[in-house]
């Protein structure tokens, strides 16, 4: 563990108008799992892209296995055994696993590919990982977790020395995360080093040896994981004390039932019944794939339900389309906000007013003044940080994008708001703001459903938790029953 195999020396990177890296230096040792931490925009991705060859540093050197490089080409990165696995998959969907593992690196004599050899070696890698993946299966038939393992296998097949993992666990269930960690430990024992980027601090403490923290493009400091605490890391990342990370919530929910679901079946879920009260924050916990997102989609009429009834404020829910759901006061903030929540290429104002336009229109013509007043009031209320309302949504930070979607729904007078993984990919400081906002919304009389895979988040925010497992409700916990083990047992169907 003492051999330094990689050293960033005073790396700077300028993009037109932005200095993304301002002289970053740190090193990586053989067989080490190094956590690279920082808020969004701290420069983590820019830095690792200098190592994979996707970015060329403006100045500084990278020392890799006793060679100094001013820039690394993607080819040199590959030859030196640098691999990377990103949150988004980088595989050819329609090809079989084995072709993906050896893509650009096919065994054989240069003319004819030795397919049997490929199959044998792929199988060997998966066996060594202790996972069951059929090398002949197509990527499209695999779960995201297995896809990710294929990506790691692909890196391993190419003389892997350094593996960059960028938010690897975001799409994984707890059990799959365990599998990933065991693979990391095995590779680590073989001398592979890791640069591990994640917003989930629990994982950092479980798998990493050392943490380097970046802030605003600068090296902020480093610490051994065993010598530090969660609070200390957060403080280093955001540069100040956060105080109470999740707001202390008083349960102010009333007896008034605003949403009553009975025996709802469809979209992969069976026989779901629950009630949501006015002013309540109701959490839906469970593993990835437990059917929580699917339930939200049915409630919002994104997908149809087969049987069962829904009542809103005592009246039966009518209509089969999302606009019917919106008319009846429902709002959905989807899990994948970039793809299904926002018009990234359109201005902030456009995004906010779109669902409410009819209200501001006379004979189909939009009243610009009324529209602007509305956009302005909700941006102020939620403190959406944007230079102006003409700014394209894509340039906003993840947290501000989330606020933007909330603003859009508040403008439609929605009062039953469903958040699906509201803080996915959002950094620590902004998470705090989102929690405050959700708490505030409940205080103002909105009723809220939160789907979250982060136990800490859901136990901190929700007044009551429903746990789902395999498309069914596995149990329900009131605040005094909250307990991580119980949650996990229910979610994995043990109780």
């Amino acid at each position: 563990m003492e051999n330094t195999i990689l050293e960033f020396k005073n790396i700077t990177k300028e993009f037109p108008g932005v200095q993304a890296l301002k002289g970053v230096s740190f090193d990586l040792k053989e067989g080490e799992v190094l956590a690279l931490l920082g808020q969004n925009g701290a420069g983590k991705s820019t830095l690792v892209k200098c190592l994979t060859g996707a970015n060329v540093p403006t100045s500084g050197t990278i020392r890799l296995f006793d060679h100094d490089y001013e820039m690394i080409t993607p080819k040199q990165a590959k030859e030196n055994g640098v691999g990377a696995v990103y949150q988004e998959q980088n595989l050819a969907e329609n090809l079989p696993v084995v072709e993906n593992v050896f893509m650009g690196n096919l065994p054989g004599n240069g003319v004819i590919v030795d397919y049997q050899e490929m199959l044998r070696r792929a199988q060997e890698i998966f066996d060594s990982f202790g996972v069951d993946i059929d090398p002949k299966a197509s990527i499209a038939s695999l779960s995201p977790a297995k896809g990710q393992i294929v990506e790691i296998a692909k890196a391993t097949a190419q003389n892997l020395k350094i593996l960059i993992l960028d938010e690897p666990t975001a799409p994984l269930t707890t059990k799959e995360t365990e599998t990933l960690f065991s693979i990391i430990r095995k590779l680590k024992a073989q001398g592979v080093s890791f640069i591990y980027i994640s917003h989930r601090l629990e994982e950092i403490f479980e798998i990493c040896d050392r943490a380097v923290v970046m802030r605003d493009g600068e090296y902020e400091g480093e610490t051994l994981i065993k010598d530090t605490s969660r609070e200390e890391l957060i403080k280093m990342m955001i540069g100040r004390d956060l105080g109470n990370y999740i707001p202390d919530r008083e349960d102010i929910s009333t007896d008034e039932v605003v949403l009553k679901v009975e025996h709802l079946t469809g979209n992969g879920d069976h026989d779901i019944s629950f009630e949501l009260h006015k002013g309540e924050i109701l959490g839906f916990a469970g593993l990835v794939g437990a059917g929580r997102t699917e339930l939200m989609e049915m409630l919002f009429n994104k997908e149809p339900h087969e049987s069962g009834t829904i009542e809103i404020k005592g009246k039966p829910f009518t209509g089969k389309q999302p606009w019917d759901a919106i008319d009846q006061g429902l709002a959905l903030l989807p899990e994948d906000r970039k793809r299904t929540g926002l018009f990234l290429n359109f201005p902030v104002g456009f995004n906010i007013s779109l669902p409410s336009l009819k209200r501001f229109s006379k004979l189909g013509v939009i009243d610009k003044k009324q529209e602007e007043e509305c956009i302005d009031s909700f941006c102020q209320k939620l403190q959406v940080k944007t230079p102006n309302y003409q700014q394209l949504a894509q340039y906003l930070s993840g947290g501000n994008q989330q606020k933007l979607i909330v603003a859009k729904w508040l403008a439609t007078n929605s009062d039953i708001i469903m958040f699906d993984e509201p803080t996915r990919g959002i950094d620590v400081g902004t998470k705090h703001e989102i929690y405050m906002m959700i708490d505030e919304l409940a205080k103002e009389g909105c009723s809220i459903i939160i789907v979250s895979s982060e136990n800490e988040e859901i136990m901190g925010l929700a007044d009551r938790i429903i746990v789902m497992s395999e498309g069914e409700i596995a149990g329900s916990l009131s605040k005094d029953q909250y307990n991580k083990e119980v949650l996990l047992d229910l979610a994995s169907g043990k109780r």
């Binding site: 993304a20 999302p322 959905l332 779109l354």
Partner: protein, 322 residues
């Protein structure tokens, strides 16, 4: 943002205008009569019919649907009107109205197939183009139909002062479309559907309805352009559609309407239409054969789409850097 970025942005913004300027200079050098009043009016008149059709197809392009059957519908209204008038002698304006309604229904049928069976509009519209062209030949008996009444001549042949009436119709419709796209919620919805269909649906927009509406708008405008052309040539011809489909798509894309959907301004569009018109007239003045012109115009569509894609990817790149 530094100075060179700003200059590049400005240039990107005015690409259609710049292309037009280069063309005008080129044709003027080749033939000094290009800028004569008589010739300019000829360009403008040329532009008016394709322009009307182009306004329509742009609404459809903005929703992200590419449709190549508009040329056939352009010929359809003319053939239908001339044929029905010759056979029945019903009031001509009534027949014209019915022909427009038929065009809209045909286009909505294309839209229905696309939505119902989830297939690409581009392919279906090419099939529909062939089918409608066949229909045109049957209706007309594969002849050019004459014998239209004199009272419709004003549409395609009339002038107010030096300005052709068809041009006035085009300009009026351009204002209507600009108003619709910028000031009404229908316009916003059209942009939204093209920007991201799923987000639009989840924002409560009836995306299918929007696609039917824009299909109908595109067909009515193409049909209207066909009727103006019918009035000018004073006959209904089954081959009138010619290269209209690719001309109007070229004009729209040159004018900044993205074939990926979600983008488009009427001002750019009008410029795009003028570019195509200037090309038609300018190449004629150079005595280029119509086949050679087709090569030239085909290349124009390729250039337009490449430019569209380049400006897109540059935008995406600068986004990644932030």
């Amino acid at each position: 943002m530094n100075k060179s970025d700003k200059i590049r942005q400005t240039i990107t913004k005015f690409i259609p205008q710049i292309i037009l300027l280069i063309l005008v200079i080129f044709f003027t050098i080749m033939n000094s009569r290009f800028l004569s009043q008589k010739n300019l009016i000829s360009v403008v008149r040329q532009v008016s019919t394709t322009g009307i059709a182009c306004l329509g197809i742009s609404c459809l392009l903005i929703t992200g649907e590419l449709d190549f059957s508009m040329g056939a519908l352009y010929a359809f209204t003319g053939v239908f009107t001339a044929s029905v008038y010759a056979k029945t002698g019903l009031p001509i304006y009534l027949i014209m109205l019915v022909s427009l309604i038929c065009a809209a229904l045909i286009s909505c049928f294309t839209c229905w197939i696309t939505i119902q069976f989830n297939v690409p509009r581009l392919i279906i519209s090419i099939a529909m183009q062939t089918a409608i062209n066949g229909l045109n030949v049957i209706i007309s008996g594969n002849k050019t139909l004459y014998g239209l009444p004199d009272n419709i001549k004003w549409i395609g042949q009339g002038y107010i002062g030096v300005v052709p009436i068809s041009t006035i119709i085009f300009i009026a419709l351009a204002f209507v479309v600009a108003f619709m796209l910028n000031k009404t919620y229908l316009g916003r919805y059209i942009m939204a559907v093209g920007g991201n269909n799923e987000v639009a649906r989840l924002s409560g927009i009836n995306t299918k309805k929007i696609k039917y509406i824009t299909s109908a708008i595109a067909a009515v405008m193409a049909g209207l352009a066909g009727l103006v052309a019918m009035s000018r040539t004073f006959c209904g011809s089954p081959t009138a559609g010619g290269s209209i489909s690719s001309d109007i798509i070229s004009a729209a894309v040159l004018g900044g309407v993205s074939i990926m959907g979600g983008q488009g301004k009427t001002s750019g569009l009008v410029t795009g239409v003028i570019i195509i018109g200037a090309l038609n007239v300018g190449l004629n003045m150079m005595n280029m054969s119509s086949n050679a012109q087709d090569i030239f115009k085909g290349s124009m569509l390729v250039v337009a789409i490449v430019v569209d894609s380049l400006t897109k990817s540059r935008r995406a790149k600068s986004k990644r850097h932030e």
